[in-house]
Structure formats: C-alpha cells, structure tokens
C-alpha cells in the first residue's frame, strides 16, 4: 500500500499560550473523503489550520504525499496541492468574484490547470452570473460556493473544507453536497470538518471524532452516528 496523501501523527497546536490540540493523529488516503466531527470548540477548525500552518503547531509527523511539511510556511503548503476553505469563508470583500478566483489561480503540481471558468460554473451554476459582483455584496451561500471555487482553481490534490454547510440555506447545502460528491468522484481527496452528520454521510468514507482537542473515536462513517458523544 502506498503512503497516505495526508499523514498526521501526534499533532499539538496552540493559540498563544493555550494548547488547543493534544496529540492528534489521522490519515487521508488518495481519493478518500474523511470527516472530522465533534462538538463546537472541539478542535476541528484548529486541525485544518494546523495542516495549513496557520497556527503554532508541533507534530511527530506531518506529511503530505510522504514529504514532511511541518517546517513549511503556509504558502508553500498551499503550493504543494492543498486547497483550504476556511470556516468563515474569508472572501476578499473588496474584490469581485472573478478577481477572487483570479488571485487564487495557479497550476497544479503537474503543471496542469484543470479548472477553467466554464468547468467551475458547471459545478456551481449560481456563480456564473456573478462575475463582476463584489465579494462583500454576495450572499452567504454564494460566498460559500466562491470559497470552494477559489480553493479549486489552485488545482489541489487535497481539499480542506471547514463547515461548508454552516449558516447557509438548506437548498444551498444540497447543491454543495452534490458538488462535493462530484469532486470526490474525480479523485480529489477531502478532509471535511462538519457538524452536519447527514452531509458527512453523503460524502465521507471514514470519520474521526475530536473531543476537547484529543482524538475521541475513529471508524467507518456509517458507525459514527452510533458513537456516543
């Protein structure tokens, strides 16, 4: 068996002096979708930030495609093929939708650009009419789609998704779920932090549950509902 795409072992993370993650370990294989579940404040978002190098962290092993990334800065990690969709979307409100996309566009590690605008708009039809719209003038659902689209044009191999269903209308959650299933079918690996268990079940193969910064449980997604929390 080849090495997993993302390999985390013994990950600690801090905000200032306060430790938020304690020895977290998990893996994501190529083409796999993995769910991170757990209560509010458990440390799901922090785990994703730690992978991106956005919080102070230390790990026994933190590797992407077999290569250590624990000493790399955020932009280098992104360039190795990690797309990040943060929890509050963090759209550039001053820039138009198209400028948001344009800023993020870069070829994948193989040099290919797999995400021309037409393909993005096929995935998220709502975005097609909003090219010139300022990010700040978009609705929450539109911003969420833009956040995913912005991550995709970096041509990632691994997508870190932080609560894409939070604060958006049910109809948008449905569209988002369909889009994510499509992405998974193309072979993209996904690490999804999500409280919406239904969405996780639609998409993910395995799940990890974080309790107060520590790994609480891990197993197949189908068994996740049965674990008490």
């Amino acid at each position: 068996m080849s090495a997993p795409l993302l390999e985390i072992d013994g990950l600690d993370a801090w905000y200032g002096p306060a430790q938020a993650l304690f020895g977290l370990s998990l893996t994501v294989a190529r083409g796999e979708a993995v769910a991170l579940i757990g209560r509010n404040g458990a440390g799901k978002s922090t785990s994703l930030k730690a992978v991106m190098g956005l919080v102070r962290r230390r790990a026994r092993r933190l590797a992407l495609d077999g290569a250590d990334i624990s000493a790399l800065t955020t932009h280098r990690i992104a360039r190795l093929g990690v797309g990040y969709v943060p929890e509050d979307r963090r759209i550039f409100t001053d820039l138009t939708m198209e400028e948001n996309i344009g800023l993020a566009r870069r070829p994948g590690r193989d040099g290919a650009d797999r995400w021309p605008l037409e393909r993005l708009f096929a995935l998220f039809p709502n975005l097609a009419d909003l090219r010139g719209r300022r990010g700040g003038a978009m609705s929450g659902g539109e911003q969420q789609m833009l956040a995913v689209a912005r991550a995709l044009v970096g041509n990632p191999e691994l997508l870190l998704l932080d609560e894409p269903s939070e604060g958006v209308a049910p109809i948008i959650v449905e569209q988002m779920t369909a889009a994510l299933r499509e992405l998974k079918a193309t072979g993209l690996s996904i690490l999804l932090s999500e409280q919406n268990v239904a969405l996780c079940e639609e998409l993910c193969d395995r799940a990890y549950r974080i309790d107060q910064g520590e790994l609480g449980w891990s197993g197949p997604m189908a068994a996740a509902r049965l674990t008490a929390d």
Partner: protein, 628 residues
Amino acid sequence: MALDALAFQMINGLASASGLFFVAAGLSIIFGVTRIVNMAHGAFYMLGLYLAVTLADRLPGPLGYWGGLLLAALAVGLLGAAVEVLLLRRIYHVPELYQLVATFALALILNDAALWLWGPEDLLGPRAPGLKGSVELIGRRLPEYDVFLAFAGPAVLLALHLLMKRTRFGRTVRAATQDREMVAALGINEALLFTAVFALGAFLAGLGGALQTAREPANLNLDLAVLGDAFVVVVIGGMGSIPGAYLAAVLVALVKALCIALGTVEIAGLAFNMSKLTLVAEFLVMALVLVLRPQGLFGRPQAAAARAAASEAPLRPMGGTGRALALAALAVALAVPALATVWAYAPVLALDMLIAVTFAASLHLLMGPGGMASFGHAAYFGLGAYGTALAATGLGLPTLPAFAVGILAAGAGALLFGWFCVRLEGVYLAMLTLAFAQIVWSVVFQWEEVTGGSNGLIGIWPDWPFDSRAGLYLAALAVTVAGLYLIRRLIFAPFGHALRAGRDARMRAEASGIDVARIRWLAFTASGMLAGAAGGLYAFAKGSISPETLAVGRSIDALVMVLLGGLASPAGPVLGAGAFTLLQDTVMRETDYWRALLGALILALVLLFPGGIAGGLSRLFAGGRADG
C-alpha cells in the same frame, strides 16, 4: 484679501500637498498590508531629497536631472526592500509598541547616516531644467515648478489607483490588506509581497522627497517634520485609504494657504496674524475630523485592536524586599549631596536622573497600566518647562508658584490633547500624540515674542532655598518621591483597576459600567501633569530652555527609558531612567552620532531583551526561563 494672493497660495499649497501625499500614501499602503506604522517613513523622504540633490547635481543635462530624481526614488525603494528583509521580518510578531520604536530606531540611524554622508549644512539642489520660469495667473507670477508639482499629486494618485485596480500586484495588495493569512493560504508568497509593498511605500516617500529638490533645501530636520505632517494627513484621511490621503493633504494645504493669504486680519479690534496660525489651523482640521469621524474621512472603523495577549503578571503591592530596596534607594539618594565633596559631578548627574525618573514614570503610567503608548510625551514636559520658565521670568513669580504654573500648563495641554487621543487605540493613538507634540513644538518655535523662538528662554533660576545645588536636588528628590508615591496610590486605587480593565478588555470594562474614555482621559491628564513637573524641574536645573526641550527626541528618550526598564514592572521606569541617563551622560556625550547609537540600543532592546531591565532581573531571580 486679494483673490490673486489666495490663488497663488493655493498652487503653492497644492505643490506641498503632493509631496505630503506621496509620503502618506506610502505609509498607508505599508500599514494596510504589514500592519506596521513605519516611523522611518519621514527618513525615507529625507533620503530621497538628499540623494536627488546629489544626483541631479552630478548627472549632466535635463535627462540627468530628471533621471537623478527617479534614481533617487528607486534607491530609496531598494533601501526599503532591504530594511524589510533585514529588520521588519524579525518584528512582525512582536507587540505593536515594539514595532513602532524599532522603526523609529531605524529613523534615528538613517538620520545619522545622512549626517555622516552629507554633513550638517543644508543642501540646495539645482533648479529643474525646463521648469525654471514662471507662469502668469491673474496678474501673479507662479513658479512653473510649483504648477508641475501641483499636477504630480493627482497624476500619482491616478497611477496608484490603476495599479491597485488593474494589476495582479494591486489586487494582491488589496486582498492582503483585508486578510493576509488567507492570501498565504492561496499559495501567495507573503514574504515577497511584504518586501514589494515596503519597497513601493519607500519609493513613494523617496519620490516625494526627490521632487522637492528644486523647492526646498535638504536638511536633517525634514524626516520628523514630514513624519508628523504625514500622520496628521493619515489621521484625517483615514488609515489605509489612498484617495483619503490625497484629499487630506489637499485639505491641510488649502487651509494653510488660506491662513497665509488672509495675512493679518482684525477681529474685534485685535490684530491677528493669520499666517502664524497655520499650525493651529492644521490642528483644528484634524480635531474636527476626529470628532465627527474618528476613523478619518475615508477610513473604515477600527476593529477593536486584538491585543497580543502579553500575559502580564498581576500587580502586587510592594512586598518586604521591595520596600527595603526602595528605602535603601531613597537613603542613597539622600546621601548624594554629601558625595559632592569627593565627586563634584555626582549631584548634577543625580539631578538629571531624578528628572528622567519622574518623566519616565509619567509615561509609564500611561503606557503600562493605561496601555496607551504616547510618542509625544515631550509636549507635556515642554509645556511644564515653558510654563515654569515664563512664570518665573516673565511674570516674576517665586519658585514654587512658578513650578505650579508649569504643572498646570502641562495639565491643560494634556486635558486638551488627551480628549482626542484617548478615543483612539494603538498605532492611531501613537500617531496622534506625535502629531500633537509636533504642533506644540512648532508653536513654541515660531511664537518668538513669548517663547523666544529658537533661542528659547534664559536666566531661569530658582530662589532660596532652591538656589543651591543641594537645595534644588533635594527638592527634586521630594517631587520625584511624591510623584512615584502618587502613581502607586493611583494604580492600586479603584481608578487603577478600572484603567487596567479598560486596557485589557475595553468592551467588557464598558459593559460593567466603567467609563473607559473618561478614566483614560484622567490618566492622560495626570501623566501630563507629572511630565510637566519633570519639565519644570528641568527648567530650573538647566537655567535655560529651548525648543529642543520638547523636541521629538525627548519623547523617544522617555519611551526608551520605559522600555529599557520594562513595561510590566512598576520599578521599570526608575531602573530604565537611571540606566539611560548614565548612558546618555557618559557614552552618548562623546560622539556626534549619538542618534545612531541610541537607535542601535533600541533595536538591541526590541530584538534581544523585550522584557527590559526589570523583566531581565525578575527572570534572573525567578531562576526560571521565560516560557516561549
């Protein structure tokens, strides 16, 4: 008032507005992306001017002249890039205050570098080829170069607008101004972006300076003068807004132009020379904007400053050891006059130290418990000194009432300026305090009839029993001890708790019923009065004062003393002021390049010993290492 005079002054004003705008725009762009207020930005402007004068002189022909100007600006941009890579990268993670003093240290070093390279004399550059003449406008002759400069401002404004809107670099800058982390998460090299942004900002400042070649001589005071003006402009226009910077620069320039054009006017039988009021006018514009729109004309409301959670140990009342140490220090201080027989210089040095301790303690009250970093504390020191001196010499008051007048003058100044300052936070507050101090300095410098202008005031001697060296020294000791005691009482009173609560969590403090702005205003005033007391002592100790007494350098001295001592410890200002005075009276006296020395000291402090002397000592005694 004649219309032609106004038009003339307006073109002249627009020409100066252009230079100011370039500096302010660079400052704003750099702050937007890196969150650093570059105190060395005025120095970049000054270097741009010096370099341009040198290059335009050496290079032949019109091409040489204009090419020299451009080369000078580019060189300053390059210097900016080097500064970013070598210095700023090390201080992005330190608290805001340390960033401010570190870039100020850089300004000091650059100033001495200019002194070393170009000497102390003013340098006038050649006239601009092709623009040496003048044009006629409503019967007045306007220098062509001023007209050219008046147009250069809007041209650069347009160029910057296009850069920001149309280029990838510009979009990246705008995105990073909103959310740097997210920009990095998209794979954009943050470090490279920061370097480029700093280079651009430095280039703009350098260009602003270079373009003044044909208008004003290069001199070593320009850096701080321009920095103060640029802060006023940025505060008015709104930090981060380029059009705001232009509008504010024009507004300030036009108000000044109006004042000058009005000349002497008669109001209610009194003759006012309006042209001397230009500084006050600038202040009034800023005050008006701050009252109506605290974030500036085009600025966005400030987010509550996310304070780097510097876990500060809670203040404790002085323990037995502390009390013993304080008493021992007092005993030594009391014995100093007796030392004079063996070491004549001892009382002089000790008096300097006492004045410094009082001054530093006043700033420490503001910065430590108050959380407000003043970059213009010299204003209150100076108001105290001038108030005391004028009362003693002009009004002929005896020593003690004259001293009281000085303290009241400083208190009145702090009351007025503090009202505006306490409404701001962090770097905005620092900029505003510096701008106010610049204004006070300029008023003192220009108001010759009262302050003696650049000559200052002389013959300020205290009367009996303070007219002997020992008498004055003991009086100063009493003032210092009383000041320190009062501060301690204040800090441990409910007032002090409220002040610290407002510093640590403003929202929460306000929610629990504390009027934070009012508490801070009181602290600002108390601090100003104590600084005034130090200034009064200084006037009597030296016998003469000059605008130098309240120049920016003194504000920075106070900052260095507080930082040197350590911000977190109440004993900090005593240790810091003592050590600094010793250093100043020994090492720095010996060299022409004391500014660079001071700058290097500050940089070492920020980079190596952020806890100051007190922090270092308590760490030593605790035997533990600091938790990184």
